[in-house]
């Protein structure tokens, strides 16, 4: 795996230095730029007089007060995340379920395709006013907003994945008389899972956007609401802490999904790797 060919064969000491050197190089590569940028931000903003761009030191200092020492983690961040989770999970159930159905039958697919293409193309945020009419301002509306945005990428990717199931596998299943739920789970969903995960990834980023937007529109708690409130009251430093928190959440959720992807698609990455190695040989 080592990129640099190690020429030293003599002595354990040299090998240790080489390993250490590589570890140092890796650490520098991963952490160098982020910390460099933060340091740059810190220094450049240190005596900033601009009202809208407060010094980073102040932002970080008030992060603690604004989010951790107050009740906001429980009262605002948690409800936001719960609504996101509810909408996202519902979208997974609906999207994968309908996607398997639509993808399995050619005629159903042909029937639904134009409508789906149109519905997918509607920018999800414009549905916020519509859903506000139907479901008012409460949690239901926000969960529905997240659901309505997340479902399309999952649905369409599932359809694509189900459509492209390997024909040899399909026929093997038929030969062995595998049908019903076993066929659905082991053949169809399994084969489509790489595409489904792609859909999940797209859906997550849309979902976070919609979580925030639905709260910016109409809410009395939540991350989007709190940040907008800071902005309206010109609490600029607090607003910046909110932006940082939102960024951090986006990053953590993406990481979480990637962990899931790694474990769920281990077979797939292995397959690709071996195909690639074959190709290079």
């Amino acid at each position: 795996m080592a990129k640099r060919p190690s020429r030293q064969r003599s002595g354990v000491g040299r090998r240790i230095t080489a390993t250490l050197g590589r570890a140092l190089w890796w650490t520098a590569a991963v952490f160098g730029l982020p910390f460099g940028l933060l340091a740059l931000w810190w220094v450049l903003s240190a005596d900033s007089q601009t009202f809208y761009l407060p010094p980073l030191s102040e932002i970080l200092a008030s992060f603690d007060d604004v989010w951790l020492r107050s009740d906001r983690l429980r009262a605002d961040v948690l409800p936001s995340l719960l609504r996101l989770a509810a909408g996202f999970l519902l979208a997974v159930v609906v999207g994968v379920g309908l996607g398997v159905l639509i993808g399995s039958f050619r005629r159903v697919r042909a029937f639904c395709e134009p409508v789906l293409e149109f519905l997918r193309a509607v920018p999800p945020p414009v549905l916020v006013p519509v859903l506000m009419l139907f479901a008012g301002f409460g949690n239901t509306m926000k969960v529905l907003v997240v659901l309505s945005g997340c479902v399309w990428p999952i649905l369409l990717n599932t359809v694509e994945g189900v459509r492209a199931v390997d024909e040899v596998l399909t026929e093997t299943c038929r030969c062995y008389g595998i049908r019903g739920p076993a066929r659905l789970w082991h053949l169809v969903v399994r084969s489509a899972s790489p595409q489904i995960v792609t859909g999940l990834r797209q859906a997550l980023s849309v979902g976070i956007i919609l979580m925030v937007i639905s709260e910016m529109f109409a809410a009395n708690n939540g991350l989007g609401y709190t940040i907008t409130q800071f902005q309206r009251t010109f609490a600029v430093t607090d607003m910046w802490t909110g932006i940082l928190l939102l960024g951090l959440l986006g990053f953590l959720l993406a990481m979480l999904l990637r962990l899931f992807e790694r474990s769920a698609l281990r077979w797939y990455f292995g397959l690709r790797q071996s195909q690639r190695d074959d190709g290079q040989r």
Binding site: E117, Q195, V212
Partner: protein, 283 residues
């Protein structure tokens, strides 16, 4: 270790060899007919649901009434101004994002050290939701076009950059060795080796970015109140003009479809030499 993580994501990156279904010649005309039927059924259901009183017509007017409202909108200059405003924000933002994405992508992709040192930063900044920037945009630029551009460029840039980074890495080893053997210089390598390799990825990135840019442009108008279709939807909603609100939403959907179709046409035109597109044509 890192290869598994950075291997091209399962779908949506490489231009997929379109349509693997069946194998036997399927009746295309029949499919189109079914699709039309599906659309007609969709419209019929939307017409029937409020008429039968399943849903109050105050929340969901029948399709025919929405169509009338849409017809009225088309005659208003105000509507067309909104469409131009939205498209201007979309196009400018997309253009800036693509230009930046290509420049930065090639710079990072061709210099291994740079690539290694920026990977973690890209991975950190990319998932940050662009709506986090809304309050900042409001304070800095108000309802100006610059607010829209800030959000659009931030969201679209990453789509392009990531695809270009994948593309630059995908160079065929034999082609690369050949280029070295023939002594191609740095620019010749970029022009004849990297650019054609990365182009399909770049166009996928442009297609994804175009859709995201439209979403963000309309979001910015909706939330911040910058002039455009999003703002019109907001006005229609708060004014209780439910039918024209639906009509405007349909217009945004049609814009979305148009953007997708355009992006695919562009892809096909620019990549007419590429095996994936050629294979599709011969079927």
């Amino acid at each position: 270790m890192t290869r598994a993580a950075t291997a091209a994501p399962p779908a949506a990156t490489a231009p997929a060899p379109a349509g693997r279904s069946g194998g036997t010649g399927r009746p295309r005309g029949g499919n189109a007919l079914l699709g039309l039927l599906g659309f007609a059924a969709f419209l019929l259901v939307l017409e029937a649901v409020p008429r039968l009183g399943l849903v109050s017509a105050n929340y969901l007017p029948p399709t025919s009434e929405i169509a009338v409202a849409l017809g009225e909108l088309l005659g208003e200059p105000r509507f067309w101004t909104a469409v131009t405003d939205t498209l201007r924000g979309w196009f400018l933002g997309l253009a800036i994002a693509v230009a930046l994405g290509v420049l930065v992508g090639f710079a990072l992709g061709t210099v291994p050290v740079l690539r290694e040192f920026t990977a973690s930063t890209v991975e950190f900044l990319r998932p940050i939701p662009s709506v986090a920037l809304i309050p900042l945009a409001v304070l800095l630029f108000g309802t100006d076009l610059r607010s829209v551009l800030l959000l659009v460029v931030y969201a679209a840039f990453w789509q392009v950059l990531v695809q270009v980074l994948y593309g630059v890495r995908d160079v065929d080893p034999v082609a690369r060795d050949t280029a070295y053997t023939f002594g191609l210089g740095r620019w010749a390598r970029i022009r004849h080796l990297l650019w054609p390799t990365a182009l399909p990825y770049l166009l996928t990135g442009v297609r994804l970015a175009a859709a995201v840019a439209l979403i963000l442009a309309i979001t910015a108008e909706l939330i911040i109140g910058a002039p455009g279709l999003g703002n019109e939807i907001n006005r229609a909603q708060s004014g209780g003009a439910v039918d024209s609100m639906y009509a405007l939403i349909i217009v945004t959907g049609l814009l979305g479809v148009a953007v997708n179709v355009l992006a695919r046409q562009l892809e096909r035109a620019v990549l007419s030499w590429h095996p994936s597109v050629r294979a599709e044509g011969t079927r």
